[in-house]
Symmetry: C2
């Protein structure tokens, strides 16, 4: 996993949005896909916070920014971002979050803080390997995974 700041670390957050948008542009250019205004704004909305946002929450912010007000506007932009690995869906929350290291194709593993709602991704390989091994023992072939943990981040642990 590249060296992106973790949601739980104190960091200069102003870079998160600009870097994220820049990386997205690079990735999409290679794939000859367009980062249109709605898509760009949607990604920016997600990048602004290290937590997952519901589609309707995103939609409200898009509407404020002058885009369409109907659900498909948000869902389509979110679907596009997820498809290209720029965002992930957090199933436990029925919500979406920007990916902090979209250049490496990966199945995400989420750590969700129930105290402050912060959301971080963590090392997927060992977890995925353990899951593959268990699945293999059952004769099952894994294609996609959702691996999510709910708990307390370092800061909220101290506060509690």
């Amino acid at each position: 996993m590249p060296n992106q700041p973790n949601a739980f670390d104190t960091h200069d957050h102003s870079h998160c949005t600009t870097d994220g948008l820049a990386r997205a542009e690079g990735i999409l250019a290679l794939r000859k896909q367009r980062l249109t205004p709605v898509r760009r704004q949607t990604l920016q909305i997600l990048l602004a916070e290290h937590r997952a946002l519901g589609a309707y929450e995103v939609l409200d912010k898009l509407a404020e920014a002058g885009f369409g007000k109907q659900p498909p506007v948000a869902y389509r932009a979110l679907e596009f971002l997820v498809e290209h690995g720029l965002a992930h869906k957090v199933r436990r929350l029925n919500a979406f979050a920007a990916c902090m290291h979209p250049e490496t194709d990966h199945a995400p593993v989420f750590l969700i803080c129930r105290g402050c709602n912060a959301l971080a991704e963590t090392a997927a390989e060992p977890v995925r390997a353990a899951l593959d091994a268990a699945a293999h023992a059952a004769g099952f072939t894994v294609e996609r995974t959702s691996i999510e943990a709910l708990g307390l981040c370092p800061k909220c642990k101290v506060a509690a």
Copy 2:
């Protein structure tokens, strides 16, 4: 994990329902909780199939059996079963499935076949350990997990 038949194994399925109900009675008796008619019927509906059922699908079957027709009827029974470890919620499917080994308190790991919708639970400990390790490295304390894999079961792999 006790010796219960796996959804992917060929097995005498007539035992699954009766054994499951018997185990539920035992567990609830110890906790002085009541397996009321709706709850019993709900569990039986889930036990009848080795797959996850949506709450409204359960509700329809409850209504057919003479119980109430409104969502809370199903949701309350399902919530009770989940609370006592007799069923699990599969977040990837927004659906519920009976647990095949409810006596051991466990966080489930699901294998969901996209071919036949069969759902099996598998060894959680190694996966959970890997996840705990990754979380610990980030200073995060895991309280609850959702670990789910989508793919192909042995039978559907052969068929494909």
